[in-house]
């Protein structure tokens, strides 16, 4: 049953929205994602791809079916354990930059690692600087995030998702706010993570070039997987 090459697996996952009226947004979703894969999810808006991504990220627990991640059944897990998993193993980049507005870019990146407590503060700070530098934000590190542009904020959010070396990085249009130069930087980073460090990337995207260059495309329509 547990195949160590499989990092993430869904079995017959379905989900309803209850507002404004009951509506089945996901139907019978079953797929496996291997370690080190770079997967993109595409589909028209309303096809349920973001909703599915949120389920996979454990941030939405209201669904039916089963979700397996890194050899662990997450469907019946307690919320405390899910929080630990999100902290340690999942890096999530939102469509809109969700950063903590009172903190500097550096602190925003550091907070998940400080929470994890695997390394000392100095080590974390060094790693955070390195990641920000990689994303071209070295000189924005000490600025408050509310003073950054949209693109810069999104890159800080990506740096935050990478800080704990998660097993899987999920992005809801992670390059949606970026120009082509930064998009290609992010793409290269994702590519490098999957090929060299065996980390897994799942990204929802509307960018066809971005999708085509990935290892595998999952296409969705009306809450079902087509391809």
């Amino acid at each position: 049953m547990t195949d160590s090459t499989i990092i993430l697996s869904t079995q017959n996952v379905g989900k309803y929205f209850y507002e404004p009226e009951k509506f089945k947004v996901l139907t019978d979703i079953s797929f496996d994602i291997k370690r080190g894969e770079f997967v993109t999810m595409v589909g028209k808006s309303g096809s349920g791809k973001s909703t599915l991504l949120y389920l996979l990220s454990t941030m939405d627990t209201d669904y039916e079916g089963t979700l397996l991640f890194d050899g662990e059944n997450l469907t019946k897990q307690k919320k405390e354990r899910l929080a630990e998993i999100r902290n340690e193993k999942i890096g999530f980049v939102f469509q809109f930059h969700y950063l903590l507005p009172e903190f500097s870019s550096l602190k925003n990146v550091m907070i998940p690692a400080l929470k994890l407590g695997k390394y000392s503060r100095e080590e974390i700070e060094e790693k955070a600087y390195k990641t920000l530098k990689m994303l071209g934000l070295r000189d924005q590190a000490l600025k408050n995030t509310s003073k950054l542009s949209g693109g810069q904020q999104q890159r800080v959010a990506i740096a935050r998702a990478l800080i704990n070396n998660p097993k899987i990085i999920m992005g809801d249009e992670p390059t949606g706010n970026l120009d082509s130069k930064n998009t290609s930087i992010v793409f290269d980073i994702f590519k490098q993570l999957t090929s060299e460090f065996n980390q897994t990337v799942i990204a929802v995207t509307h960018d066809n070039d971005f999708a085509k260059a990935s290892d595998r495309i999952i296409e969705m329509a009306d809450g079902r997987i087509i391809v």
């Binding site: 949120y54 990220s57 941030m59 939405d60 627990t61 209201d62 919320k79 405390e80 929080a83 630990e84 998993i85 999100r86 902290n87 340690e88 999530f92 939102f94 969700y98 950063l99 903590l100 507005p101 009172e102 903190f103 602190k107 907070i111 998940p112 400080l114 929470k115 994890l116 407590g117 695997k118 390394y119 000392s120 503060r121 935050r160």
Partner: protein, 414 residues
Amino acid sequence: MKKYKHNINAEIAYTHLFSKKKQTFIAALGVTVGIAIFIFMNSLMNGFEVASIEGLFKSTPHLRIYKNDVLSKSLIDSPDSTKVNLISNPKITSESKKIINPISLLKTLKNEPEVMGVTPNVSANVFYKNGDSEVSGRVSGVIIEEQNAMFNLQSYLVDGGYANLSGYQNGIILGVGIAEKLNLKMNDNVTVTSALGVNKLMKIVALLETGNKAVDKTLSYINLPVAQQLQKQSPSYITDIYVNINDFEKAKTLISKYENLTGYDVEDWETANASAAAANKMRKMMAFAISLSIMLVAAFGIYNILNMTIMEKLNDIAILKAIGFSGKDIVRIFVSEAIIIGIIGILFGLILAFILIILMGNMWVGGDIGFFPIRVFPKFFGVGIIFGLVVTFFAGFIPARKAAGLDPISIFRK
């Protein structure tokens, strides 16, 4: 796995509070106002209550032991139960008002643990005369030192001192109302005539003003032996024994005990001053109702402002949860924020309450009250601190727990 314990929850709470100083200040102000009003109003009610009770006990003891009037009975009852013993037109017995062997009775009472003060008293109805003008009233024969210890007589004397009475056998502490009517001053003489026709020329050694006009127009204090003489009685003649106990609220419960102990009738202050006692009871109920309403209003005010502060941070809560903070972490962060706001607010609240009380205490009301009878009651400051901490804890805990239980996505979707 977890090698380092970075105190990130505290760091986040601290940053939230300090990056939005104005908001923190306003939230703390909400607590300050709630706490200050809570303490101030309770002190106000309590000060008022204490003053009212003190006024009552200026001349009334907690318990009064006296011999009730009895009608004369036939000396020997007929053994035949079918016959009725009858004295036509019976009179009050002449010995009836006298308490027998008062010295030993006083000693017995003094040995009771709850008794704070005991003093014998002889009261007599008299006429005060100066020339042709005359006023009817009552003299109270007292042992002045004991009387002063029990009723703090000195504080109601507008002229002279209570000790003058013990130095002058035929001295009198005269009510100001009587002095005014008879046009008398300190060191003047006044003639006191008892119902039994005894005349005494007495010297005014002090003037008494209780603030209660009915008392000031009739009552005066004289030495006990003089009162006995006015009644044509021996030095063992005592009509009343006044008893003060440690807690005047318990007076009623001690009536039967003292009746058994002494064999005489006992009257408590509530029976003696039924209307004052009823007013006191009413004041107490009012104070409780007001205190409770203020508590509710203050608690709601504090809850609202803290709840709002947390609800504004709902998006941050979702982000923190998304990057791996558990519900417990969220509750810890926001409860510690609420408690810090609470502590700041309480500190300023205590200061504000103190200032309000001092200001109020400097307001002149006049009459026998003087300044408004409000004091700094440490009790209410203590209760205020505990109340503030409990309310701020729950004001942080309830909304934080509610937010912490949500899936982050359900917050983002709103």
